[in-house]
């Protein structure tokens, strides 16, 4: 039996292989595919893929339209901005007022949200909150002053248009010129593509939430476990999961079964390549634009110095690998000496990867690492601090957890209070003893032999811009029911929720407590999230904060932006399921 199952793992499935790798050439075989339909102008335009074109200045014209793209061998219609995936790189200058005219040539409403950019709420681009959206055939003019610098991105905030191609990078040059010196500067935008209609993907998850998980524990695994560890241990390992009706392998709701992972709009087979001369300092701006995918990024043979996160300079930290959640951005510096290196970004569930190459010549490649073996979620992911003492030995990477436990002054460890609405059908788990340590890189990255970036490493130099102590705490729980595929805050999906009111001008602390077994990248629009450590010490200014399973984190917010704002999980399918709140600053 053991032999059988190890064989099945070794024999590659050719059809799946090709799917995962995608097409090398992005060319669209137009043919008469029923999927490719003429758009607005009556003809089918082809999507340009690969390194996005750069637009700079203060006036921009962006056109949203359907264009044909072929990532897997079968052409599909994408929603694109100016006909490319990714969308154009917008280069702004700090202090400039930019004007962006967005014309909608789709037959449905669209929008653009400027992710991480501080601006008036009417310009934030969330249909139904900031504005009414951009109806078909119309042009909306965004105009705002850019008061920040760094690496950001933009994407549609309408339906699933982000999944079908609407995402691009924003680079804002600092007022005094770029101070992170590099000889080369590349955007590396990571994303996921599906040939399926994203709404159908969503409907499938509603009907069978593990539809895309082909890594579920099997009877064969059980027998193998039992023969290796003994029957008792094998049963023990499964008991809690089965009792709670939760899956230890639910690491990503959507896998490479349908996704092709892209780097700069290019499939792994297409191999996006950035050129350098040996010894040059290369800046790579990683934009995590996966709609439902966390990426674990490394460049075998190269140390990466992370210098800039979510548009903010950080105290440089040198690592082998980092995890980036949807919405986050990470700028790293590398100094390659050899001819070629693979940029390897495997999905968190280890079903696929995005890949590109750094090389001295366009035709060079380096070996592509094997995908890591997927791990089961651990007891720490299920019960937080309660597990950390006991299962420590077996809990790779959790051995430092003791540090934070000594801190009884913890600011985000005020008593856990679940909401009344967390005791009903919308919630499948509550964590009473969360973990608060930030030095855990997360499932799949613990004790992997590589130096992996953790949130404890991300430090904005100096003090927070607003030095005031928070006047009050707001505690919100991240909740869901995996079986029903419902996602919410405090057990209430958006439609049942009320807004969170921030009093204009106040400084407050937000505590996010994850009562689920998934990691949620939480994005608050309009205001910075000043991340704290477990002792309430300021760590870093962020716009997107990933909260791990059974983890409780906190950040400070200065409510200086009047209006209504969106606040949501940046996993698109969680957001659309209702893990979304409105914030009112008044």
């Amino acid at each position: 039996m053991r032999k059988m199952s190890s064989n099945t793992r070794v024999i590659p499935d050719p059809s799946r292989r090709r799917f995962l790798q995608g097409l090398a050439a992005g060319g669209v075989l137009m043919g008469l595919s029923p999927w490719v339909k003429p758009g607005w102008a009556g003809q089918v335009a082809t999507t340009a893929t690969g390194m996005a074109p750069v637009l700079s200045g203060t006036e921009f014209d962006l056109i949203v339209a359907e264009t044909a793209v072929n990532y897997t061998g079968s052409p599909r219609m994408a929603t694109t901005i100016n006909g490319s995936i990714p969308s154009p790189i917008l280069r702004w200058r700090e202090g400039d007022t930019v004007t962006i005219r967005v014309t909608n040539r789709l037959n449905t409403s669209t929008s653009i949200h400027w992710h991480g950019i501080i601006l008036p709420y009417q310009m934030d681009g969330v249909p139904g909150i900031s504005f009414a959206g951009i109806p078909p055939g119309e042009t909306f003019t965004y105009r705002f002053k850019v008061e920040q610098a760094g690496t950001y991105w933009y994407h549609s905030h309408s339906g699933f248009q982000e999944q079908t191609g609407m995402y691009g990078t924003i680079i804002v040059e600092p007022r005094g010129g770029e101070h992170i010196r590099a000889d080369r500067d590349y955007v590396v935008q990571l994303s996921d593509w599906t040939d399926e209609d994203p709404m159908k993907v969503f409907a499938k998850l509603k009907k069978q939430s593990d539809y895309y998980n082909f890594n579920a524990p099997t009877a064969m695994d059980f027998f193998r476990d039992a023969s290796e560890r003994g029957l008792g241990k094998a049963m023990e390992r499964r008991r809690m999961w089965n009792q709670m009706r939760m899956s230890p392998t639910d690491l990503a709701d959507i896998s490479a079964h349908t996704y092709t992972y892209l780097m700069n709009g290019t499939t792994p087979a297409g191999n996006w390549t950035g050129l350098f001369n040996p010894g040059e300092r290369v800046r790579l701006r990683f934009i995590s634009s996966g709609t439902q995918s966390f990426f674990d990024v490394r460049i075998p043979g190269l140390k990466m110095t992370v210098v800039h996160v979510d548009g903010q300079d950080i105290e440089p930290v040198t690592v082998d690998e980092f995890r980036c959640g949807p919405g986050e951005t990470y700028d790293v510096l590398v100094t390659p000496q050899d001819d070629a290196y693979t940029i390897f970004a495997q999905s968190m569930d280890r079903t696929g990867y995005a890949r590109g190459t750094l090389a001295t010549r366009a035709d060079l490649t380096a070996p592509i690492p094997e995908l890591d073996e997927p791990e089961w979620l651990t007891m720490t992911d299920m019960m937080g601090a309660m597990a950390q003492g006991g299962v420590m030995g077996g809990m790779g990477g959790m051995n430092h957890s003791g540090h934070s436990m000594s801190g009884s002054m913890n600011k985000n460890t005020t008593p856990v209070r679940h909401a009344k609405t967390e005791y009903g059908p919308s919630v499948d788990m509550r964590v009473d003893m969360p973990r608060t340590n930030l030095d855990d890189p997360g499932i799949g990255l613990r004790n992997n032999g590589r130096r992996v970036l953790t949130y404890a490493d991300i430090k904005t130099p100096g003090e927070p811009v607003d030095p005031r102590d928070p006047g009050r705490d707001i505690e919100l729980h991240l909740t869901g029911n995996m079986e029903r595929y419902t996602w919410s805050f405090d057990g209430l999906e958006f439609g049942k929720s009320t807004p969170i009111h921030f009093r204009y001008g106040e400084r407050l602390r937000v505590i996010l407590h994850n009562d689920t077994m998934m990691t949620h990248p939480m994005h608050l629009h309009g205001m910075w999230s000043d991340m704290e450590d477990a002792n309430g010490e300021f760590l870093a200014r962020r716009h997107t904060i990933s909260v791990q399973p059974a983890q409780r984190i906190s950040f400070r917010v200065t409510a200086d932006a009047l209006g209504r704002w969106a606040w949501h999980c940046h996993l698109l399918y969680h957001m659309d399921a209702g893990m979304f709140r409105e914030v009112i600053v008044s």
Partner: protein, 307 residues
Amino acid sequence: MHKRLISGCVFLLGIGVFPAWADNGTIQEERAMNAMPMENMDHANEQSSGGKPGVMPGRAQGGPAPENARDPHAYSGGYSIESGQYALPGPRMLKLADEYSFASLLMDRLEAVRTSDNRSITYDLQAWYGRDYDRLVLKAEGNVDNGKIEEASTELLWSHALATYWDGQLGLRYDSGEEPGLTWLAFGMQGLAPYWFELDITGYVGEEGRTALGLEAEYEILFTQKLILTPRIEASVYGKDDVKRGTGSGLSELSAGLRLRYEIRREFAPYAGIEWASTYGSTADYARAAGLDTRETRAVAGLRFWF
């Protein structure tokens, strides 16, 4: 065979049904027990509560909300997402999937049934339409013999989520087929018991003081990600004798089956299997009187599909 079948089914139902009503009340305690012997427990407590008494570890799933549970609307400042300061004019535009309806149809069994002396077709489907917590559910099950519907039972139910894994259902059942139609009021629970047992338990009240109880339990054993064995049991119990339909009071019929399916796609899986069925009590007496077997072994082959 007889006895083994009964005890097997009772056992399966037992492990399935029991925790269903308790719905996991003990999990957190067990988790606490597991972690308890560890010296770090005190620290963990401290960490969780900042030295103050926080939430005592309770249930991880379900259960009633404690007195001091947080009001999820406490931060709203009286605002709503519908209207008010800074809200866009007109009715609320932003509606996410929690306010959308979905629809699904699962043909769990569409199979050719072969016994020692007969061939027939059985169908068993469930369809639903609605949102996350309230749905209209259609359940239909029946046998087609010689091109005629021998017996069919169709239920139309309002399904309302009551607990994490449980839906309460209320509606009507209509029996048709060779005998005159019969209408019942139906009420039941459908959901997922600990250890992944899928259960469907429905009580019925019919005309002329008829009562009945239907039980179904299914379990999935994954040999691989696509090759799945499903043990399934079904039992029917009646409150009183019905000579015309040949059903007697008490446990009337019990069947247990094993079906092995291969999911070519998630949505499309052919299967083959075997099922044992027995009648009991006066139902068995009626069967014997009519010259029918009280036990039969069925070979089944069919399709499971959904969309």
